[in-house]
Symmetry: C2
């Protein structure tokens, strides 16, 4: 692994490990299909036929309504043409980054998944961190900051932007002519994050962009959609940036999303939550033996940070040791994109995996940490 590796490169290494290593890196659901999901997969050929026989805009609007409805976003601008279906939330983020004026200063939540910051930096924007503590204290960035980017819930901490905090942010942004950008890719996993974001942003009269993602919820092998929604007030050339990236998402995938969203409101959410929470519990229980704890015990998303006590091995040492033991996790320094050192005491493990995989990964982690601690004494 190069010193310049980002989190996705480490995730690719885990995915392509032919040595049979455990992949506990990415936040994608790598789970066995539920019976209900398996029944939906069986219907893909029918969806293919329907994609051939119905107008694309009908299929797209139906998917937007089903998915956004399933995650509480009842005021999203369905049917207005201001929700663009992209191949992924990453591509949606890149389209936003391209549409922002080059050289503009934007504030981005810190820590957060490094790819979000990287995409903006690569497009020539100038970034300042918005620390989670500032968000919680409702201390919002002043101009020259032109846009404020918040991951909700945040990855990797699971922090949810409280409803009144979002209102405060939106009102602040209106006063200062700023755009509010919400990356809600993990929202579908957490009921508390599913209050109607669009209603709050619109009520404040904000210029806003919201990114939603179907890719973190279901074990769908990348058959997913990232949604890019924006307010009528948004004056950025988003449509043009979109047209540079793609013509259209797959109507087959849109049909698939519609069906999975239907299952999500019909018990699917609770079934998936039960799996993740069981896995979180076994991690918490297993690492306790090594004196380790979850850094964010209240987090409800499908990844967990484990805090590493000061004085013991840090996450870069532990990460490498874990790789030699055949388990891929993520060190947290890259999440701290403005201050990598700040991530040295955290390591991230994915929970959207079969129970046995998570349990084995947690046991290896506990053992590796114990062994490294003994070595160091």
């Amino acid at each position: 692994m190069s010193e310049l590796a980002n989190l996705t490169i480490m995730e690719v290494e885990a995915l392509t490990d032919l040595g049979g290593g455990l992949n506990l890196t990415d936040g994608h659901a790598r789970l066995v299909l539920s019976a209900q999901q398996a029944a939906i997969v069986e219907r893909i050929p029918d969806m293919f036929t329907e994609a051939s026989n119905r107008p694309f805009p009908d299929i797209e609007r139906e998917a937007h309504a089903a998915f956004l409805g399933a995650i509480g976003q009842h005021s999203a601008p369905i049917g207005t043409g201001r929700i663009l279906s992209c191949y992924s939330s990453t591509l949606a983020t890149d389209i936003v980054a391209r549409a922002l004026p080059a050289g503009a200063v934007i504030a981005v939540l810190h820590p957060t998944f490094d790819n979000i910051a990287d995409l903006f930096i690569t497009r020539g924007l100038s970034l300042v961190p918005l620390f989670e503590s500032a968000l919680l204290a409702q201390e919002w960035p002043e101009p020259p900051v032109r846009a404020i980017v918040v991951t909700h819930p945040n990855n990797p901490t699971g922090l949810i932007v409280p409803e009144d905090h979002l209102r405060s942010l939106a009102e602040h942004a209106v006063r200062h002519g700023q755009t509010v950008i919400i990356d809600a890719s993990f929202r579908g996993q957490v009921r508390e994050a599913q209050y109607d974001t669009y209603a709050i942003l619109e009520a404040a009269g904000a210029s806003w962009i919201v990114i939603e993602d179907t890719g973190k919820l279901w074990p769908v092998h990348e058959l997913k959609i990232g949604l890019l929604a924006y307010s009528e007030r948004t004056r950025l050339p988003i449509e043009r940036a979109f047209s540079e990236s793609l013509l259209a998402a797959s109507p087959v995938v849109l049909k698939f999303v519609t069906a999975l969203a239907g299952d999500w409101v019909n018990g699917g959410y609770e079934r998936a939550r039960a799996l993740v929470e069981r896995n979180r519990a076994v991690v918490q229980e297993t690492i306790r033996s090594a004196g380790l704890r979850l850094a964010d015990p209240d987090s409800q998303i499908s990844v967990a940070r484990i805090g590493l006590p000061a004085g013991g091995p840090d996450s870069s040492v532990l990460y490498k040791e874990m790789v030699t033991r055949g388990v891929h996790v993520l060190p947290c320094t890259p999440f701290h994109w403005a201050d990598p050192e700040g991530g040295l005491r955290f390591i991230r493990i994915s929970l959207a995996r079969p129970f046995e995989v998570v349990e084995r990964g947690a046991r290896t982690l506990a053992q590796a940490y114990r062994d490294l601690s003994v070595d160091a004494t």
Copy 2:
């Protein structure tokens, strides 16, 4: 349509036209599935299961071998890690644009699909045109040009880079330290373009990048893959640019591509060619009545340019008239990205549509042209 519209925006307008208009814009195959293809679609649920049970790198390598083998690219670097599977060829192009050093001068074939030039320009590269006439005369750009981008076969003209011309280009590039970049997205449609590009580039000792696309061959509703292959000599940060864009393509789509490639070498190619050539013939026949001709009678790709005689209505006038008559085609000015006026005498029509659709579109075109010509006299 805004004055700033690019070709993809016009294609989106056609795709989302709810007035029942005919869409003869994009180069995607919008055809009825053959019996063989329909049987493959029926197996998608099984592919989903296999994607869950086999390592991703195995599935990916198998797809690369099947697809590249089906289009004659036997020397492609399968299994080396230097073929990246992207959501689309557009995304592959953008990854290349990002990996090139900002500010570098690159030569891009002219005319060609405007999106190719746009992606490079947006990433801060400086473009100079490589005219088709210069390519045919083997007059290759000198430094400071750092990379030479050729679409093979070209879109919209169907021009195939002859094998000895590619050799000459590769040897020129080696002498001048340039990178050869081939966008072979339409290659699968044309046997003559399927000589082993990789063997020629490697034999010359060139630094090369080749983009391949499964998305132009089959009516697969965007369940496609763009491949980004590069030489061992290529020193650009392609892997990092890839990791900023995606983690991995869908293994279900890779399985789907493997199956469709199997059909392609088993009669699928001939079946698809027969449909396209029948459609080209009916266009040629229908427009003759209005005094119009195919601009590229030897083209074998799934789009056709129609030449508009000097003195008559130009393509921007004819495009608008066609939209009012409910038929979406593409004016060719945007293809002439360095000289839009040069495209005024051409209009592009898609041939990968059901026969009746193409025939009706051609009839409307002939009638519109006749009516406009009468108006003008």
